[in-house]
Structures are given as structure tokens and as C-alpha cells.
């Protein structure tokens, strides 16, 4: 062995020894037991400090991971504003249990699951839970990590698979439920929709699959014929081929599973080809921006939309009243409603966890099982909680017509509509 090689091995040995000596800084004893004391009742137990909660400061920190940049940032920002309005309201009233103020920490995931995991790692030690994670893929990416750390998140997503996951506090109806309700609503308005031909124009994604599942189930239930399923990619702007195929298939109702950025191009192609079926669209983002656009008349004439909420100017509804007060001059949108509902779910859970005397991850999960349900101040149907396997997503959907004169162009035609045809258990 050469002199330099010996020096090299000596250096490795020294470095390894040093690193192991220093390892105590970043390791913990296997014998450590930091579980809360088990014998005391909740009433007797002092609310212990946990990551994200300092009893002395009286602040509970929660995280929100959403796409603050990228194509859907406008949607995400409105959701964030909606959340903040309810948290501000709770703080004005003294906070959780009248004494713990809520502080919101946000991270940008750019709608990227990998960045979501990274963002959560960044704030995991600073927050007690997540009041929002935007996007089904991001939630799915996070669940293994949430499970490992016994943490909990409110998803800003409508995948029905989240309903029974202990890492998730579900809030919204599934995509399938919304489609079922929309079709059922049409049938309730006009018998002709019972025998109409139902087609689909859906994004080539798991969202599109969810929409298709809903259409297949409800058309089977009402006995309506189904037609072609046309697909498109998230950033597509040319829809002539798909609209031509839908028109040639004599589609009378088209269920659209796409985003706001696709909508103008869809309407442009449909107008050019003089294709005017009844459209059903899942929630519409950026509805306000369309009010003064050329596509507004087509939307008004041909489309209905699904989402949570109520009449968006109805101040008799508590949630709408609080949102309008918090928004001031800003026009209310359905995205504000989404964010607000997530915040309501979060504070309901925190109240329960404080009552049970444990704001740790396991404590929050236990609180979720102890809650029977969560109500959303008139903005949506209740979510049934309890043990994860017993949970049921809300079944009610608000159906909107497009009306440029209404707030953000959406006029509620049926608030909290629930299909009498029922729902598949899977939804």
C-alpha cells in the first residue's frame, strides 16, 4: 500500500469515527418514549406542546401546500383567501377553544407531487396539521409520509379513495357524486334528459376516469344511452377533432371533465361547428374572467356547473355571509368556498383535539374518529366521520347556471342537490 493510499484510509477511518461520534446530534435513542402520559383523563391533562403548537405563545400553526405558481395558481390563491377568511374570523373570536390563535404557513407545490413531499418535509416540524393539499396526485404522494409520522391533512381534492384514509380528513363530494347529481338534476328538470344521449369530453387523467365512472353509473341508473368518450391532454388548445366526433355521434348531453384553461378553446370549437348540446362541467375556476368574454353567451345558453356553495350573494347562509364580509370588494368565487370549507373542517377538528387534550398527530387522528360529522355553514353537505372505514363523503352538490349578472357568473339553480337515484358506495 502506497504512502498516499495509507493516508487516504486513515482519513476515511478518522472521518467515519468523527461522524459516528457526532451522530448523536441527528439521531435519537431507540429507548426514547415521547408518547403523552396515558393515565390522565383529557380534562386533567395539560395540553402539551407539540411541533406547531406552543401553549405559552397560544398559537397553533397549520400548513397549506398549494400551487401558488403555475397554470392553476389563480385557483389556489382564491382557495387560500377563502381559508384565511375563516381563520381570521376564528381568531377574532379568540381562537380555537377561545384561546389558541391560528397561524397559517403556506408552501408552493406547483401542483407537483414530488415538490409536495419536499414542501411538507420543510414545514412538518412547524405545523400541527395541513389544512390543505392541492391536487389528488400530491395528496397520494404525501399519504405514506403522513402515515409514517401519524400526521393528518385536509385534501383539496375530490378523489373518493381519500374518504377512508386515516391520514386524510375528507371535505368535499367526489367527482363521481357531482356528475351523478348534475345528470339527476337535468332529468328532474326535463324528462327528455332521461332518454338523451350522454357523451363525454374528459381530460386524459385520473380526473377524467372519475368523471367517466360517474357518467357510467348514473346513465345506467336512469337507463339513458351513452355515446363517445373524447379525451384531451391538460394543455390542449385545439378541440375541433373532439367536438366533430361528439357532433357526429349525435350527443345531446356532453359531460366535460376539464379545467378552466381548456374551456375557451372548447367553446370556440363548439361555436365554430355549431354544436350546442347540454353541457355539464365540474367546478368552474376563473368564472369571473369569463363574464365579459365572448364565450359568456355560449356558457349561459348551454352549460351547467357543479360545485359546493349556495347562492353566492345569499347572506342568510352563514358561510356566504362570512366570505362576503371577509372579501370586501373582491367578487366571491366557488374557489373561495372550497378554501373556506377546508378551513372549517380544520378548525372543527382542532376544537375536538383541544377538547380531548392532544394536538399531536395521533391526537388529531383520534379527534377525527371521535367526530361524528362536520357541517359547513350551509356551503355543502355534511361529511360523515367516525372510524375511517365508516366515513362517507358529502352527497350534496350545488348546481349552477352561468349568468354574467350573478357573482362570478354563477347562479345557483339548486343548492345542496342530492340525486334521488342514490350513489354507488364507491363514490
Amino acid at each position: 500500500m502506497s504512502h498516499h493510499a495509507r493516508k487516504g484510509f486513515a482519513a476515511v477511518a478518522a472521518a467515519a469515527a468523527l461522524s459516528l461520534v457526532a451522530a448523536g446530534c441527528a439521531a435519537q435513542s431507540s429507548d426514547d418514549d415521547d408518547t403523552p402520559e396515558g393515565g390522565a383523563t383529557a380534562a386533567e391533562r395539560e395540553l402539551a406542546a407539540v411541533p406547531g403548537f406552543d401553549p405559552a405563545a397560544g398559537v397553533i400553526k397549520i400548513g397549506d401546500i398549494l400551487a401558488l405558481s403555475g397554470p392553476i395558481s389563480a385557483t389556489a390563491k382564491e382557495q387560500l383567501v377563502g381559508q384565511q377568511i375563516w381563520f381570521d374570523k376564528v381568531n377574532e373570536q379568540g381562537g380555537i377553544a377561545g384561546k389558541y390563535k391560528i397561524e397559517l404557513i403556506t408552501e408552493d407545490n406547483q401542483y407537483n407531487p414530488q415538490l409536495t413531499v419536499q414542501a411538507y418535509q420543510k414545514i412538518a416540524d412547524e405545523v400541527v396539521m395541513l389544512s390543505g393539499v392541492l391536487g389528488s396526485p400530491s395528496v397520494k404522494a404525501l399519504i405514506p409520509l403522513l402515515d409514517r409520522t401519524d400526521a393528518l391533512a385536509v385534501p383539496s381534492a375530490q378523489d373518493p379513495s381519500f374518504a377512508k384514509d386515516p391520514a386524510v380528513l375528507p371535505t368535499f363530494p367526489s367527482y363521481q357524486t357531482n356528475v351523478t347529481n348534475a345528470v339527476s338534476y337535468l332529468v328532474s328538470q326535463d324528462e327528455k334528459f332521461k332518454t338523451a344521449r350522454y357523451c363525454q369530453l374528459v381530460m386524459d387523467s385520473d380526473w377524467g376516469i372519475a368523471v367517466s365512472e360517474g357518467v357510467a353509473w348514473v346513465t345506467g341508473k336512469i337507463g339513458a344511452p351513452t355515446g363517445t368518450i373524447q379525451k384531451f391532454a391538460a394543455l390542449d388548445t385545439a378541440f375541433t377533432a373532439q367536438i366533430t366526433a361528439l357532433k357526429n355521434d349525435n350527443c345531446e348531453v356532453v359531460v366535460f371533465g376539464g379545467a378552466a384553461n381548456n374551456l375557451p378553446s372548447v367553446v370556440a370549437a363548439a361555436t365554430q361547428l355549431d354544436f350546442q348540446p347540454q353541457w355539464i362541467a365540474e367546478f368552474i375556476a376563473l368564472a369571473t374572467a369569463f363574464k365579459t368574454s365572448d364565450i359568456a353567451p355560449y356558457l349561459t345558453e348551454n352549460m351547467i356547473f357543479t360545485g359546493p356553495g349556495a347562492k353566492l350573494d345569499d347572506e342568510s347562509v352563514e358561510g356566504i355571509r362570512n366570505l362576503l364580509a371577509g372579501l370586501g370588494d373582491t367578487e366571491i368565487t366557488v374557489q373561495h368556498v372550497y378554501g373556506y370549507m377546508q378551513a372549517v373542517a380544520t378548525t372543527t377538528l382542532l376544537e375536538k383535539a383541544v377538547e380531548l387534550g392532544d394536538l399531536s398527530g395521533p391526537g388529531l387522528r383520534r379527534a377525527a374518529t371521535e367526530l361524528d360529522s362536520i357541517s359547513f355553514q350551509g356551503l355543502g353537505g355534511d361529511v360523515t366521520l367516525g372510524e375511517p372505514e365508516e366515513r362517507v363523503l358529502p352527497r350534496a352538490t350545488t348546481i349552477y347556471h352561468y349568468n354574467p349578472a350573478a357573482p362570478s357568473g354563477l347562479e345557483a339553480a339548486a343548492v345542496g342537490y342530492q340525486a334521488p337515484e342514490g350513489f354507488d358506495d364507491h363514490f
Partner: protein, 373 residues
């Protein structure tokens, strides 16, 4: 690109070459400095995870390590063999889903699923390689790009393996005999999963670097570099182009597959869209920024691409002109993108041969200041 710049530290200086069977074979390391550098790097693989407790920073560094492995593979093909490829994410995807299938669905141990992920990706690379012989430059880049779209389409349509559109949770376990990288313990001390994954990822990176350094010293490796520098001349001198191209593709895609397997166990949830064009472009950016055809260029490039956005994000929060989250104005992500893009332009304008060349020039400058005039 000159062959001197491209051949890497082990092969650039004729003075470092030794005689072996009448052929000049460069030594793996040339000087005590490079040996010390290697020793320090190996020590850091242990020192960093055992002393960094932040799961966030370890997650970032684990991502950097995986990206570096994939980029080392691409560097074999693009940097050493001169084949411009935008398809590396396809091979990384094969490795990722293979890891879940063999390690998760079939419950095989890591000692099997990790090599199998590399072998399957290598086989796919070998199948693609003959097409490369007929194509050059941008044409090959476009064909390789089509692999990415093809891969996403196939992955979406074999849900029993990939989970389809929904993707799949990765259940493959990262254990090697008694060593559990997901719950590592040394004596009475237990470490986090992220610390264990750092050890695994960066150890594999070290092995891959050693492998590539040695391959580039073999007849096959020199044939790759010769075909890159002048393919006709290389062929006249007896280099068999088909075999050389296949070799380059197999090695590059095999390493990509191993990177994919590690990516899968690091992420714990993968879906077809993870392995898209953006990822392929990122790998290309890494080897260009780090230094094409250099051994450590991909590692430096991965550190740059992985860490600069994170560091900018860290400091941008304290800057007075940043907007509040959710409001209009300059967000931390906006600033990160602006600075990140500007730094890439700046680096490549000032030193097109990448970060490795900047380090070399800095080293030469420091030595010239120390040496007596």
C-alpha cells in the same frame, strides 16, 4: 468539445497514463489530491446523514443523489458517446415501476429488485440502440423524446403494474441483509428514514461513479469517446459502431433504471406522469451545467439544479420586496425561477464546459498563486 475536456480527470493527461499491454491505460486517479477528494466524498456519505437531522434537507439531498445517478447514466450516452438523448426519463420510469413490481408486488429483497430494475431498463436501452445508429444529433433527440411519450402511454395502460393513471404506492423495502435503510440503527441510536435513504442513495452513486470511471478506461469506453469525437475516423480504426452504440445505450439506460428504482423508494408514490419530458430535460440540463463527458460533472450539475432553487427559496422569504403568499406580485417561486434561469445563462455563457471546468480553473489559479514565481 475537446477530448481533453470530455475524457474526465482520469483520462485527460497523457502523463497520467501508464503502460499496460502496450496500450496507454490512464490510472483511475492521478494524484494524491484526487485520492483525497474521493476519500472526502466517501466520508461525507456517512458524515452528512448522521449529522443533518433535518428531514427536509435530507429529502432535497436524496433527490439530488437520485438525479445525479440518472445524469451519470445520461452522461455516458451524451457526454462520452456523443448521442444526444432526451429519453432518459423513460429508462428511469422503467426502473421505478420495476422496483415496485419486483420489490413491492413480488416482495423480492433489494438485492434483487435493484439490479433487476437496472437490467430491465438496460434491456430496453439495448433494444432502442440500433435505431441510434441511423440517426444523429437533433433527429436522435426527437426519437428519444418519443420514448418518453410512449412510456407514459404504456404505463397508463398497464395498471396491474403501474397503477395506471392513479399511480402506485411503492412498497418495495430498502433493506440489505441486516441493514434496514428505512429504519437504520447503529448501536442504541436510531436514525430517520431520510438519513437511511441518504446513505443508500449516495453509496449507490459512489458505486456508479466508480463503474463509469472504469468503463471509460476500457476498450469499450474509449471506443465510445472515439465515436463521439470522430465517428468515421473511429470506424476506420476498427471501432464497431453498432456494438459501441449498444454499449452506450445499455450502460446509460441501466444506470437510469437504478436511479428510477431509488427514486421510487425515496418518493414512495409514483405515477406515469413523474417520468415526463420535464424530467428528461432536467437530466440534460444537469449534465450540460455540470460538464459534459466529465465524471463528476453530473454530480455538480445535480447539486446545482437541486440546491439553487431551494437556497433561493430559503433567502427569498426574508427579502423586503417579496409578496405575501397568495397575493399578486413577486412570489418566492417567481424569484427562484428568475434567479435560477439567470444563473444557468451566466454559467454557460462564462464557462460552456460547465461547473467542472470552473472548479479546475479555480484549482489551477489557486496553485499558481501558491507556487513560487
Amino acid at each position: 468539445m475537446t477530448s481533453e475536456a470530455a475524457a474526465g480527470p482520469g483520462a485527460s493527461a497523457p502523463s497520467a497514463a501508464g503502460a499496460a499491454g502496450g496500450i496507454l491505460v490512464p490510472r483511475l486517479t492521478q494524484s494524491w489530491r484526487s485520492r483525497l477528494f474521493i476519500v472526502l466524498g466517501l466520508a461525507l456519505i456517512v458524515i452528512v446523514p448522521t449529522n443533518v437531522g433535518s428531514t427536509y434537507w435530507l429529502t432535497v439531498l436524496n433527490g439530488v443523489g437520485v438525479a445525479a445517478i440518472a445524469a451519470v447514466g445520461l452522461n455516458v450516452l451524451t457526454g462520452y458517446a456523443g448521442q444526444l438523448s432526451l429519453g432518459q426519463s423513460f429508462f428511469v420510469g422503467i426502473g421505478a415501476f420495476s422496483a415496485q413490481y419486483f420489490g413491492g408486488s413480488l416482495d423480492l429483497p433489494m438485492v434483487l429488485w435493484l439490479p433487476l430494475a437496472g437490467l430491465l431498463a438496460a434491456a430496453a436501452g439495448g433494444a432502442v440502440a440500433p435505431f441510434a445508429l441511423r440517426l444523429r444529433g437533433p433527429y436522435l433527440a426527437i426519437v428519444s423524446l418519443s420514448l418518453v411519450f410512449l412510456g407514459i402511454y404504456i404505463a397508463r395502460n398497464i395498471p396491474s403494474v403501474t397503477g395506471g393513471y392513479n399511480g402506485t404506492v411503492v412498497e418495495a423495502t430498502a433493506t440489505l441483509g441486516p441493514i434496514d435503510f428505512e429504519r437504520p440503527t447503529i448501536g442504541g441510536l436510531s436514525f430517520s428514514r431520510e438519513q437511511g435513504m441518504f446513505l443508500l442513495t449516495w453509496s449507490v452513486l459512489a458505486v456508479v461513479l466508480l463503474l463509469v470511471a472504469n468503463i471509460m478506461r476500457t476498450r469499450a469506453g474509449r471506443a465510445m469517446q472515439a465515436s463521439r469525437d470522430h465517428d468515421i475516423a473511429a470506424e476506420v480504426l476498427g471501432v464497431r459502431m453498432l456494438r459501441t452504440q449498444v454499449n452506450a445505450f445499455v450502460v446509460a439506460s441501466g444506470i437510469g433504471g437504478i436511479a428510477g428504482a431509488l427514486l421510487a423508494v425515496n418518493l414512495e408514490y409514483i405515477r406515469p406522469e413523474n417520468f415526463d419530458v420535464a424530467l428528461a430535460v432536467q437530466y440534460l440540463a444537469i449534465i450540460v451545467i455540470g460538464g459534459l463527458g466529465t465524471l463528476f460533472g453530473p454530480v455538480l450539475g445535480a447539486l446545482f439544479v437541486g440546491l439553487v432553487p431551494v437556497l433561493v427559496d430559503e433567502i427569498s422569504g426574508s427579502l423586503p420586496f417579496m409578496s405575501e403568499a397568495g397575493s399578486d406580485g413577486l412570489s418566492t417561486t417567481d424569484l427562484t425561477l428568475i434567479l435560477y434561469g439567470s444563473l444557468i445563462v451566466l454559467f454557460l455563457t462564462l464557462e460552456p464546459r460547465g461547473l467542472v471546468q470552473i472548479l479546475r480553473r479555480t484549482s489551477v489559479w489557486l496553485r499558481s498563486r501558491r507556487s513560487p514565481r
